[in-house]
């Protein structure tokens, strides 16, 4: 009874329930017979609207027995199930216990569906049409809010279909990303690089992906890139999947390719957050999702892999 200040309230509720039932039974019993001295005419004497009379017909006896039966049922229910204040009932059921039971039953049922895929390699699972449908439904439920219904992401949320991976595209790393989440941190470099130099560096970064750039400014930015950015993104800008540092040379942009957007990234940094799902999804579901996500960019190799097994 933690919701209430005092235990009194539990007894209060229990008393109301029991007195209510007792009162119903007493009322039924007291109405068996017409009291002495009361007129036994057809009606009670109450008249409305000139001719609408309230009759005093006897109730069918089966109705009385049904009512008594309902009272017995009510008492039985209150003994077996929680209802009398804080008394938990003989069966000790509660919504938490029921929820746990339902969840367990649901997981058992899901396990039957997932069992056959647990025996398969993730790449084979990815090639299975039924598994892909399951994966898609899971994806639409848990992933599509950020990565989009078509898994192609949007600004700040990676595209999962383009074979460009921040942390690696092997099933193990995908599974790791889903289970434990990821924190992609690009540190803000305002104190290290001034705004003008950041613009030059952005020109150099654009040149890495073969976009239009200003060669003079880019050459000025190159040295900054090599001294500062290369620590994570590598000397040639190919990135580092161990750190989650993006490849800057493949013209795939998590934010935007414009100079302004790159300057903003350098000066203010970015903080990409993929939440951990181990608390939300069962390992079986994470495995189905892993197969689905892996299959999005590796359909042909998956088919080949599955055919080879």
């Amino acid at each position: 009874m933690s919701d209430f200040i005092s235990d009194i309230w539990g007894h209060y509720i229990a008393a109301i329930a029991l007195i209510g039932i007792a009162w119903c039974v007493w009322l039924l019993f007291s109405q068996r017979k017409m009291p002495k001295g009361v007129s036994t005419s057809d009606d009670t004497g109450h008249v409305w609207d000139d001719d609408l009379r309230e009759l005093n017909n006897p109730l069918p006896r089966w109705w009385m027995w049904m009512f008594l039966l309902a009272c017995v049922f009510g008492l039985g229910y209150l003994i077996l199930f929680p209802g009398l204040g804080a008394y938990p009932g003989v069966l000790k059921t509660s919504s938490q216990v029921e929820l746990a039971a339902h969840r367990e039953a649901a997981e058992r049922m899901q396990h039957q569906i997932y069992a056959k895929y647990l025996k398969m390699d993730v790449k084979q699972v990815a090639a299975d049409p039924e598994a892909r449908e399951i994966g898609q439904r899971l994806f639409l439920n848990y992933c599509a809010q950020c990565h989009g219904s078509d898994a192609r992401g949007s600004r700040g949320f990676p595209n999962l279909t383009d074979n460009d991976w921040l942390y690696g595209g092997e099933p193990d790393t995908i599974q790791q990303s889903i289970t434990k989440g990821r924190n992609g941190v690009m540190p803000p470099l305002t104190g290290v690089i001034d705004a003008k130099l950041a613009g030059d560096t952005a020109q150099y970064v654009r040149s890495l992906s073969g976009l239009a750039y200003d060669p003079i400014r880019a050459s000025r930015g190159e040295s900054t890139f090599k001294s500062t950015c290369a620590a994570c993104h590598g000397g040639t800008g190919k990135g580092n999947q161990a750190l989650g540092a993006p490849n800057l040379s493949d013209n795939v942009w998590l934010y935007s390719s414009s100079e302004g957007a790159i300057v903003e990234a350098i000066l203010k940094g970015h903080n990409g957050h993929m939440p951990a799902h181990e608390e939300i999804l069962t390992p079986e579901r994470i495995r189905m999702l892993t197969a689905y996500v892996w299959g999005l960019s590796s359909t042909s190799s998956a088919a080949a892999g599955a055919a080879g097994q």
């Binding site: 109405q31 068996r32 017979k33 017409m34 002495k36 001295g37 009361v38 036994t40 057809d42 009759l55 005093n56 017909n57 006897p58 109730l59 069918p60 006896r61 089966w62 109705w63 009385m64 898609q136 439904r137 639409l140 599509a144 809010q145 950020c146 989009g148 219904s149 078509d150 898994a151 192609r152 992401g153 949007s154 600004r155 949320f157 935007s256 390719s257």
Partner: protein, 497 residues
């Protein structure tokens, strides 16, 4: 127009005995002040009767039960023709497959049924109760068995009065065995509308029926046995709401089962040779057969009462007596209050069935039925819901396009596979194209699917803001039957990409 009503005929005051009123409570003979307020049911032993209304009822019992017991066994397209699959949330009715989205049809069907009830009640009272209500129909079946096993009214009264003997036990056992068999078959048929009945049959034979199916089968069997075997007229008297609100649906021109007071009274026994008119007697010989045949145990000569289910058994019974006495038939007959009061001819009374009330009911009823049929016939067996991804406004692709992502919730309500095709039109924007996984564009029979689609516009045509666009989904079956649905949604070009 209807003729103006004549003033009531001279003679005994008849309006006292007319109109809706409940039967007076039974008075205990010994002590009037000790009247019981819980009434013990006095069992009714209806006498069997033959006649036109009785035949009608027999035929309607046969017809309704042929439909009820027969329908689940029919096959259609290699499946049960009528099946309400609650688990899969699909209702199969012959060629029709209804999804939860079609629940409007159920609502309209209920409105049509309610209006039919209003219409028929305004024309001739409780026609439904007397002939088609399951309570009446099963009571009729159970009473038929009772008559076959125990005999007619007198034999049944005598049997119930006898002390228990081997013979009484044998007769009662036979009756209840037959009743329970029919009740069980009724329960089995009922659950057969919700799960394939052929499989249920073999499951019962193998004793492997699921717990809920077994529960509902026994529940409905018990309800049938209890309601048709024991509760009988009490269901109509105490439980059925129709009995209580019918009084607002009938009026003075409604045809109801009526005792002709003017002709029948004063009632009394007489010698056959007596000229009863000259002796001051009415046509009613007070044989009480009309009371004996009544399944709700009322005396129709007290006027129309709410217990009367309009079965017409008393009409059949009285006509037989009138025939024997060589009096004209129809001392109890279907007629209206106005016809009785103003001594209208039967043709005049029938003419009054055409009155604004019935005509308005009829017009609304027919219009609804027409609309219902047309709507079912023109129903699109494809359902589309388009939901725009809410996580992102829009995205730039390759620096060339602005792209929005949508989910199509597609439902194929036909029983053949369909291939869908998605097209998009902009109102104020040109160059819209749509892309989706073409391998996912085939929908299995009676299936649903979520299909993500991408709609894009060249960056040079993209103007900032929200634009109304139309998405058209065309579904084509293998036999080239097409259905099309067009839905509007919005396309957003964000300010900063």
């Amino acid at each position: 127009m209807n003729a103006p009503l004549k003033s009531p005929p001279e003679g005994p005051e008849i309006s006292e005995t007319r109109g809706w009123r409940p039967a007076p409570p039974p008075k205990t003979a010994n002590d009037a002040t000790e009247e019981a307020l819980y009434e013990v049911r006095r069992k009714i032993y209806p006498r069997s009767v033959k006649g036109a209304f009785s035949s009608w009822r027999v035929w309607l019992v046969i017809l309704t039960q042929l439909v009820y017991y027969g329908a689940p066994w029919l096959q259609w397209n290699d499946r049960q023709a009528v099946l309400f699959d609650l688990g899969a949330r699909k209702f199969y009715i012959f060629g029709l497959v209804l999804w939860p989205q079609d629940v409007i049809y159920l609502a309209v069907l209920l409105v049509i049924s309610a209006l039919a009830l209003f219409l028929f009640t305004a024309i001739a009272g409780r026609l439904f109760c007397g002939y088609a209500c399951p309570q009446t129909v099963y009571t009729e079946i159970f009473m038929w068995i009772e008559r076959r096993v125990e005999g007619d009214r007198i034999a049944r009264i005598r049997l119930d009065g006898d002390p228990w003997s081997l013979r009484k036990f044998r007769i009662k056992t036979t009756k209840h065995t037959l009743w329970i068999l029919i009740a069980l078959w009724t329960g089995f048929t009922f659950i057969g509308y919700f799960a394939p009945i052929r499989e249920l049959g073999s499951e019962i034979l193998q004793w492997s029926l699921g717990p809920w199916q077994a529960f509902w089968m026994l529940f409905y069997a018990f309800a049938t046995w209890g309601a048709a075997g024991f509760m009988r007229e009490q269901v109509c008297k105490y439980m059925c709401p129709y009995a209580r609100f019918q009084s607002v649906m009938v009026d003075r021109d409604t045809f109801v089962v009526t005792y002709d007071v003017g002709r029948g009274e004063p009632r009394g026994g007489r010698s056959r040779k007596l000229d009863h008119r000259a002796a001051g007697l009415g046509d009613c010989v007070d044989c009480s057969i009309c009371v004996q045949v009544c399944p709700t145990g009322i005396d129709i000569r007290d006027g129309l009462q709410y217990e009367c289910i309009g079965c017409g058994a008393c009409i059949d019974a009285c006509n037989q007596v009138m025939d024997k006495l060589e009096y004209p038939r129809g001392l109890i007959r279907y007629t209206s209050e106005n016809a009785m009061r103003s001594a209208l001819s039967i043709a005049e009374a029938r003419k009054r069935l055409v009155r604004p009330r019935t005509m308005i009911y009829m017009v609304i009823w027919l219009a609804l039925m027409g609309g219902f049929a047309a709507s079912l016939a023109m129903r699109t067996p494809l359902k589309v819901d388009i939901i725009r991804d809410r996580g992102a406004l829009g995205r730039e692709v390759d620096g060339r396009w602005i792209e929005n992502v949508y989910r199509l919730q597609l439902i194929n309500a036909t029983e053949s596979p369909v291939t869908i095709d998605v097209k998009v039109d902009g109102y104020d924007m040109k160059g819209l194209t749509v892309e989706y996984d073409q391998t996912a564009s085939t929908l299995d029979p009676t299936s649903n699917r979520l299909l993500p689609i991408r709609i894009r516009v060249p960056i040079e045509d993209a103007r900032q803001g929200t634009h109304k666009i139309d998405v058209t989904v065309t579904a084509e079956t293998e036999s080239q039957r097409r259905s099309q649905i067009r839905q509007s949604t919005s396309f957003i070009v964000p300010r900063n990409l």
